[in-house]
Symmetry: C2
Subunit: 460 residues, 2 copies
């Protein structure tokens, strides 16, 4: 049985002087005349294991030439080295090559640009940087499940395929099983009755409406799944496929919503700090200086809660020449978000937005002008979550849909949540890559997701 | 602050004689002349809370008329009732209606057929049956994450959008942002350079190939996400959108693969039995008699491991008139799976399948005829997982792809896993709905997923 590298480090004391079998990939090889050092890793732990080998091994000359990227098996004795930089090393008794690797291997122990690494997205997880980023991503995903399940939430798998066009088909991918080269026509139009679902189908961009129907049964639910946008925009923060979390809570108003968002984010940050100390340390050192301090600070901070109107007041009073003038009727720009998080020196909930720039399902406030929406903006990353109390009044909801020309018939089932035992309820959405970028300091969404899909870019 | 129903039951002793505020939906209301019983639930717990109300409440007459499905707030004193069937009741001091519900509410406290409930899929989670099924589904999902994360696996989000046509575009949904009513043409063909990714795109049916590239960096990885099939087949076990788990392990042969599958399944079953005793009890009573015993038995059993060849031997010797004759060169039928699990009285791993009926990436055995594939079949549910050791030899892999006319250029990146430090590795896939059906006894996949998508059926 092989010992995983993680176990070797975690159970180092118990394994001292024991002979173990390791399997992994060569990270570096420094060979001298009578001995050498092979650094290997199997990816289960951030740090490599140092293997010491010497000329007593009958294939010493071969081992001396082992190249980076090869897979090897090492049988050797664990020796604790408390006086050294690394806590242990393994003195090899036998080293065997399992899989060769040519000199042309693209991932060499040197600095590669992130642009280059995107071109070898299938190999980049073998670098320290992406080992750290994708481990943090995995652990953060687990933290999210842990938080919601510990608090009794139901994980709902809402459907991605939809035939309701209410989001506007321009914003959704169309999906089809029809032969695109030979589309069936009827009266000059595509005959979608021949398609798998008997009508035109799309990939939806949100599970919120379905989530709400489950919140009306289980009180507290969340979704966590892939999401699609057709935006043709090439920025550091846009991808056409990404993952999103959408919790929805019955009997919950906007104030409790903010409590939950704050508690969840702190839980996730604490969980990642506890579980990935080496990875965070690496990102702090090589990706975003001060990362660890930023995350620690978040844990101790009380998030500010302030209305959109008050934010505009502050921006207007600021002695700053804005590129975009602050406006009580409009969204705030990135420069405003940045100013506000610096002004309050921490995360800020911005509430009560002008209704005209927000979605139809948000609860209309008593002023008739604003809705009970809330965006969480955080230092550096900007908007991290967007949520609202939902309009539970069927008549108000219908009249808002009418104003915005939204076909209510297609989602009549959704309106049943207001007809049958409706209640005050709230929910939010969090883009998972945005969170990963916040947790790692990575600045481009293409480096926060394993195989990014962006306009004109769908490789691998 | 409201007390959730789950907390009320779990912390009953501490809450005895305390006044609590509950919010939930009316499940039943039995009103008498001077008092009445209101059963409510907020969906956080399987059992309802019995609220006792009497004529001292000034809105007693109104409450007496409260209808099923209304949402209500109850303030009342918790009274433990160890002598009764239910462990506690709440003596109401105040009951308020939060949201009305008309008499036409489709979910009444009576038996509804599952077919009817599929037509109100947005309301069916409010029934006992779907409360149990979807809670078990959520808990099983968590159990899967827990198992893999506890064992150091990396959770990878593999992409759903792909431009590689290697699966055969007939088996995949095509996706597009083009205007289907006005497709851009070039030389009489659709001009996909105008599409978002600059070429034709699909939704993939598996994350395995991407998963393998991550296993070559992290050793142990898993995916867990939605999966799509275009099959036009209306059966109890087919859906066009479902969730799948695909673990992939480096330095792992087919024997270790089976160890992992067995350990994982037992972990998930134990986790669900521990976490959902009431839901399992309900399913045992109303969905599949003997369910609990079946699951308990699985925990104590050692899974049989037997080759496909030996299975055919057993089937041939059996004194059964088969609909499909057992054949050494072919797949086994449902009737065979059933016989074999009954023969061994438990789960069976069937290994070493004829290469011609299995996928190109499976490891060719020394006999040159079979591959190191393994299917796990379990009593009642049939095939639950399918996996294999992967062909790590690049030349053998390429020649197998050539035989099957698979374009290797489109997935050249995948072949790098064999070029750069390749190693023995294995993986499997498990359909999550199949698992949910096994855990609940539910017989139709349409009842194991919140909003099923099947041919001609894409409502909600």
């Amino acid at each position: 049985m092989r010992t995983r590298v993680k176990k070797l480090f975690v159970n180092a004391k118990e394994l001292d002087q024991q002979v173990v079998t390791l399997m992994g990939w060569v990270k570096t090889n420094r060979a001298q005349a009578q001995f050498g050092f092979l650094n290997i890793n199997d990816g289960t732990y951030f740090d490599n294991v140092q293997i010491v080998y010497d000329e007593k091994l009958n294939n010493f000359n071969e081992i001396s030439k082992y190249r980076v990227g090869m897979s090897v098996q090492v049988i050797g004795k664990v020796i604790l080295t408390p006086e050294m930089k690394q806590p242990l090393e393994v003195h090899a008794e036998e080293i065997t090559m399992l899989g060769d690797c040519p000199e042309t291997y693209p991932i060499q122990p040197k600095r590669h640009t992130r642009e280059f690494l995107r071109d070898v997205a299938h190999l980049r997880p073998r670098t320290n940087l992406f080992n750290a980023v994708f481990r943090i991503r995995s652990v953060a995903a687990m933290a999210i499940h842990q938080y919601f399940q510990d608090n009794g939430y139901l994980y709902v798998h809402t459907p991605l395929i939809t035939c309701a066009d209410c989001e506007g088909s321009d914003q959704m991918f169309k999906i089809s099983t029809l032969d695109m080269k030979n589309l069936p026509l009827i009266n000059g139009k595509i005959d979608f009755t021949k398609d798998l679902f008997g009508k035109q189908a799309f990939i939806t961009g949100s599970g919120q409406l379905h989530g709400e129907t489950f919140a009306m049964a289980f009180s507290d639910i969340y979704t966590f799944g892939p999401t699609f946008r057709t935006e043709n925009s090439n920025t550091k923060t846009h991808a056409n496929e990404f993952w999103m979390i959408e919790p929805e809570m019955a009997f919950c108003d906007i104030h409790e919503l903010m409590d939950i968002e704050e508690e969840m984010l702190k839980f996730v940050v604490q969980y990642v700090l506890n579980t990935c100390p080496l990875e965070i340390q690496f990102c702090d050192q090589f990706v975003a200086k001060g990362l660890k301090e930023k995350l620690q600070k978040l844990l101790d901070s009380k998030f500010t809660r302030i209305s959109h109107h008050e934010v505009i007041d502050i921006l207007n009073k600021a002695n700053v020449k804005w590129e975009f003038l602050p406006n009580y009727e409009e969204d705030i720009a990135k420069e405003h978000e940045k100013y506000i998080t610096e002004y309050f020196n921490g995360p800020v909930f911005i509430t009560d937005w002008p209704k005209d720039i927000k979605a139809y399902y948000m609860k209309l406030n008593a002023d008739g002008k604003t809705v009970a929406a809330v965006d969480l903006v955080v230092p550096q990353a900007g908007e991290l979550m967007g949520g609202s109390q939902r309009e539970e009044d069927l008549d108000k909801l219908l009249s808002r849909m009418k104003e915005l020309n939204i076909n209510s018939e297609e989602i009549d089932w959704y309106l049943d949540t207001r007809r049958y035992g409706g209640c005050v309820h709230s929910g939010f959405g969090m883009g998972f890559e945005r969170l990963v970028m916040y947790l790692t300091g990575i600045e481009n969404i293409r480096d926060a997701i394993p195989f990014p899909r962006t306009p004109k870019n769908c490789e691998f």
